[in-house]
């Protein structure tokens, strides 16, 4: 009797999944497969829709892989991502260590979190153009400050300097994201069993020993999450390089996303090449993600169990925060 009832309810599992599945098939899976297909065709030119598979199906992929601009864009993207990510994770870890240490008793944690996270919710397009005018030449605010304080003898034309342009874009990314990374790491630390920290204190561990021997190893999964999401975001960087300096000077800030956009939506509208480039970037993202995952994975189910408990605790805390705005 009971069994029959359960069976009759099972169909709602399917029914309630239909909207998601339909939207996913139409707007996500089909476009992905379609993109892959276009990569093998001769589709180019504005407003054109007819296409044929090329005699040499891999021609677009080969052309893209041998394209100097594409290679440069890959190098640029990785370089800008690393110049952003390494300082970002180091600063976020340092701030996490400071903020969560019971000995430092930092006040105003809430205030600092709110302010550090602020740039993250502002439109990236706006931020890119804001930094473009801040670093303006000859009398942008940055030049103004540096010349008036005597740090520079005369205004510097940052936007015409390849390294400066890359560094500024890396800085913008760093500036927008370290607060986010810090909040995630702090929440990870709060999820660690406090008894471990108490035991360490009793054993006489100092701040740095506690941090390197207890906090860091326990943050492993969260660091993995931060690393993979940051890498995927970094490899898809578009708004900031596009609007900060239009990929210039000399293609120094041309990223892979910007390359794909330029191939498809400007010049001769090479949709097929752009599609092939998209698939290559996608493959790179998948390979990197798997590699990072395998490198950092903890063996055994013990870790997973600990995470599950941590998760439950954090969700409870979030619910508490959500309901009782008082605390």
């Amino acid at each position: 009797m009971k069994r029959k009832r359960r069976l009759s309810y099972a169909k709602y599992g399917y029914i309630f999944s239909i909207p998601f599945v339909a939207a996913f098939l139409i707007f996500s899976l089909y476009p992905t497969l379609y993109t892959a297909f276009i990569g093998f065709t001769d589709l180019k030119g504005l407003l054109k829709t007819s296409m044929n598979i090329l005699e040499d199906p891999f021609q677009n992929f080969r052309l893209i892989l041998n394209n100097a601009s594409f290679r440069l864009s890959l190098v640029n993207t990785l370089k800008i991502w690393l110049m952003n990510f390494i300082p970002q994770i180091l600063l976020a870890l340092l701030l996490t260590a400071w903020i969560t240490s019971s000995r430092n008793k930092i006040r105003g944690k809430g205030f600092f979190k709110v302010v550090f996270y602020l740039p993250n919710i502002i439109t990236a397009a706006t931020i890119a153009i804001l930094f473009n005018v801040l670093f303006g030449y000859p009398m942008g605010p940055i030049n103004d400050i540096l010349v008036k304080t005597g740090a520079l003898a005369q205004p510097y034309y940052y936007l015409s300097d390849k390294t400066a342009s890359q560094l500024i874009i890396a800085f913008i990314q760093f500036w927008m994201w370290y607060g986010y990374t810090m909040i995630i790491l702090v929440s990870g630390v709060l999820g660690i069993n406090p008894e471990i920290f108490e035991a360490a204190e009793i054993d006489g561990a100092n701040d740095w020993q506690t941090f390197f021997l207890i906090t860091l190893p326990n943050l492993r999964t969260i660091l993995l999450f931060v690393l993979i999401t940051s890498m995927i975001g970094g490899l898809n960087m578009f708004d900031i390089p596009k609007l900060f300096n239009l990929g210039q000077p000399g293609n120094a800030t041309l990223t892979t996303s910007l390359f794909i956009y330029n191939q498809a939506f400007s010049g001769s509208y090479l949709y097929n090449r752009a599609a092939a480039a998209s698939m290559i970037v996608f493959a790179i993202i998948v390979i990197f993600s798997i590699a990072i995952f395998l490198l950092m994975r903890d063996k055994g189910a013990a870790q997973e169990k600990r995470e599950a408990r941590q998760l439950a605790r954090q969700i409870k805390r979030g619910e508490y925060l959500g309901k009782g705005a008082g605390k």
Partner: protein, 282 residues
């Protein structure tokens, strides 16, 4: 001995505060310059790029700004339509999908959940060429629905909702509604949604902001000026027509930042709590 170590600790704490305050200034400073320069004339800005005193050219900057292609009200209106539509759809259908995964035992349940986890990380850019061609063929470019409807399938939100449901939804509630003769969908709407409210509110903020800030897809899909979203309007400020109009550019940027500042400072507590919860995604 004790004293020197506590003095050392105090100096160390002072250093930490100084550094934290430096970072806070760094976060706010560009926006402060932006708001102040939005009130200064282009001539003043070219004389000195930075000033801590607002000037009186707000109105004339606004006239220059809107005298060209930049139409903040239209951009605002379009962005509100798209972001609201996407948020409502994403939150409702993600909760419904999470409920399907949580409350019913069906054969493909585990497989379905695995697929959701796998596609959670696929970035939009990767599928953009196919998406654009597809939308072009069915005449959906320049149609806001092309930017709203895909939100029905938001894997990351489904994942979040499912986690929250496991921690806070009791199936006894659902069972007793069934005994009272409530239909399944109506049980979901009347009993489950209220329980999920805190999670839905948190997710709504993030989906709204992400949709609001999105540039890539609107940029390739919308070619008609009347359909432009705010980020596309912003990208016009980078064009040649505003090249020498610094006051107007700062004002245009400030206008796009202002609504986000208001939302952020009203909801910052929930936003920060939501970011912290995001850690569980890993």
């Amino acid at each position: 001995m004790m004293r020197s170590s506590s003095a050392g600790r105090a100096a160390y704490r002072l250093f930490i505060y100084a550094f934290l305050i430096f970072l806070a200034v760094l976060s706010l400073f560009p926006f402060v310059i932006m708001f102040i320069n939005a009130t200064r004339s282009t001539f003043e800005i070219q004389q000195s790029g930075i000033s801590l005193i607002p000037s009186s050219y707000l109105a004339s900057n606004y006239a220059i700004l809107t005298g060209k292609t930049f139409d903040p009200l239209k951009g605002f209106y379009n962005s509100v339509i798209i972001s609201t539509g996407a948020t409502v759809l994403a939150v409702y259908f993600s909760t419904l999908t999470a409920y399907a995964l949580f409350a019913y035992s069906w054969k493909l349940r585990q497989a379905f959940f695995t697929v959701i986890l796998a596609v959670m990380m696929i970035p939009a850019q990767v599928t953009s060429i196919g998406f654009y061609q597809f939308m072009y063929r069915i005449g959906m470019t320049n149609n806001h629905l092309a930017l709203i409807l895909p939100a029905i399938a938001s894997p990351a939100t489904v994942f979040f909702m499912r986690q929250y449901m496991m921690a806070s939804l009791q199936l006894e509630l659902v069972d007793s509604a069934r005994i009272d003769g409530s239909g399944e969908l109506s049980t979901f709407n009347r009993i489950v949604l209220p329980v999920m409210k805190p999670a839905m509110a948190t997710q709504a903020i993030f989906i709204f902001v992400a949709s609001w800030n999105n540039l890539f897809l609107p940029l390739i899909l919308l070619t008609d000026n009347d359909k432009y979203t705010l980020p596309i309007m912003v990208s016009l400020l980078r064009g040649d027509i505003y090249r020498t109009e610094y006051g107007a550019v700062y004002l245009g940027l400030a206008l796009t930042v202002l609504p986000l500042f208001v939302i952020y400072f009203l909801l910052s507590k929930y936003i920060i709590a939501g970011v912290a919860l995001g850690a569980v995604k890993g």
